[in-house]
């Protein structure tokens, strides 16, 4: 491989590390083009898959699916086939085609097992777990997250954050499957890891899950504390899904506290996210009169 190709790949990785995803995608595209010009097919495929992975971070990349599938079928390089399967799964997930996403995530998981690289196995296991939990397949998600978490070792800063996310994911599954206190403990561990690492961009989802866990455990003050923090961070990071979940959980916390006035305030904020419904007192009454915690999937 040429020095120019290596330099482009390194620059792209550096851009990704400093969170400049757009530049990273451009540099990987440049590297792929350069490798193709040199007849370096493996290098071109590798750089292209990394480019797709960056585009997925930017909620783009589904137009690349045919090319990714071509790599999966054509390449004799198992690592590139893994990357192609993984990126295809993510791209289908962005299109909300859950069946295809699930199928390619499992293909990636198989290929990562063949490669035997810890990082790839845990990444693909985590992806499969995330897709499973969205479908309320909690046993499947549990198996995948256990695998993702069990395999990580010798971690640098970035991977420590990823590992904390795996702990949070597994913790939430445990909360949903009658292992409430184990789940809370695992999420609390994830929380302290993420706080220590200053990873606020991941912390709020963990706090949301802790709000849910403490709510179920009837630790209402803890639930409120976690929910309020999660809500503030989710608004800062413009994550509407988590913000909505937090408003729902906080309203439930307030109801159980006997404070329906506060519950209504949260629920009015929640319904404001649904302009097609409007601020409907009728819907607010449904939430006030019914415990929906076992009906709602926070990762749905």
């Amino acid at each position: 491989m040429s020095a120019r190709f290596d330099e482009l790949m390194r620059s792209a990785e550096a851009a990704f590390t400093r969170d400049d995803i757009e530049s990273a995608a451009g540099l990987y595209a440049e590297a792929a083009e350069f490798a193709r010009g040199e007849g370096n097919e493996d290098g071109a495929d590798h750089a292209f898959c990394n480019q797709c992975s960056m585009l997925a971070e930017l909620d783009r990349g589904f137009e690349q699916i045919p090319k990714l599938k071509e790599i999966l079928l054509r390449s004799s390089n198992t690592k590139n086939r893994f990357l192609a399967a993984y990126c295809t799964a993510v791209a289908y997930d962005l299109q909300d085609d859950r069946e295809k996403s699930w199928s390619y995530a499992n293909r990636a998981l198989e290929l990562s097992d063949t490669l035997g690289e810890a990082d790839l196995i845990s990444r693909s296991a985590n992806l499969a777990g995330t897709l499973a939990i969205r479908e309320s397949k909690f046993d499947e998600a549990d198996r995948c997250y256990q695998k993702a978490l069990g395999i990580q070792e010798n971690l640098d800063g970035y991977h420590r954050i990823v590992r904390a996310q795996y702990k949070d994911n597994l913790g939430y599954v445990m909360m949903c499957t009658d292992r409430l206190h184990k789940g809370i403990d695992l999420c609390e561990e994830a929380r302290s890891d993420l706080e220590r690492l200053g990873a606020d961009h991941s912390l709020y989802e963990t706090l949301q899950d802790l709000c849910y866990g403490h709510l179920l455990a009837d630790n209402l003050d803890r639930a409120r504390e976690c929910g309020e923090k999660a809500l503030d961070l989710a608004i800062d990071f413009e994550d509407d899904q988590v913000a909505k979940n937090c408003l729902f959980l906080l309203s439930e916390t307030a109801v159980r506290h006997g404070d329906t006035f506060r519950a209504r305030r949260y629920l009015r904020e929640l319904t404001a996210y649904y302009p097609e419904v409007g601020i409907s007192e009728e819907i607010i009454d449904v939430f006030l009169s019914t415990d929906l915690t076992s009906v709602v999937n926070l990762r749905g």
């Binding site: 479908e135 309320s136 109801v255 006997g258 329906t260 419904v277 009728e282 819907i283 009906v295 749905g300």
Partner: protein, 138 residues
């Protein structure tokens, strides 16, 4: 002060069963309703069995699709000859609070509630009378 959660819990299976009966009342197939909500038919089937949890977005879609006396969706159905609605959780909270009072405290609370009810009835009558006067031009 926490409320007894067992009093309030609505298991997912109950909600699923109510969703199923409401769908049947509307003569909707699982496929039709799933399409309206934007989920897979198999997911709706699992939801009706209490195995599938929905996102808040889909829950709002369900509530919107049915456009119902929404409380009927979740609350226990009342017999036709019993028009009173089921106790809501807010009602139960009031009961829970009242039960913690001493006997004299309860009496005071009752007197206050009776006063409030009488006052609201008077207000409603006064408003109705004002409307009647406007309509007859007096």
């Amino acid at each position: 002060m926490a409320i007894n959660l067992h009093e309030l819990a609505t298991p997912a299976a109950d909600v699923g069963a109510r969703l199923r009966s409401l769908r049947k009342e509307r003569h909707l197939t699982q496929t039709e309703l799933a399409r309206q909500i934007g989920i897979q038919q198999s997911d709706l089937s699992r939801m009706e069995k209490g195995e599938y949890r929905v996102s808040l977005d889909n829950l709002f879609k369900i509530l919107t699709v049915f456009d119902i006396a929404l409380n009927d969706f979740f609350a226990d159905k009342q017999a036709d000859d019993e028009p009173r609605r089921a106790l809501s959780r807010e009602d139960m909270q009031i009961l829970h609070l009242v039960r913690q009072l001493s006997e004299s405290g309860r009496r005071e609370a009752m007197e206050f509630l009776e006063f409030k009810v009488r006052r609201e009835q008077q207000d409603r009558r006064a408003i109705a009378s004002r409307r009647g006067n406007r309509e007859t031009g007096s």
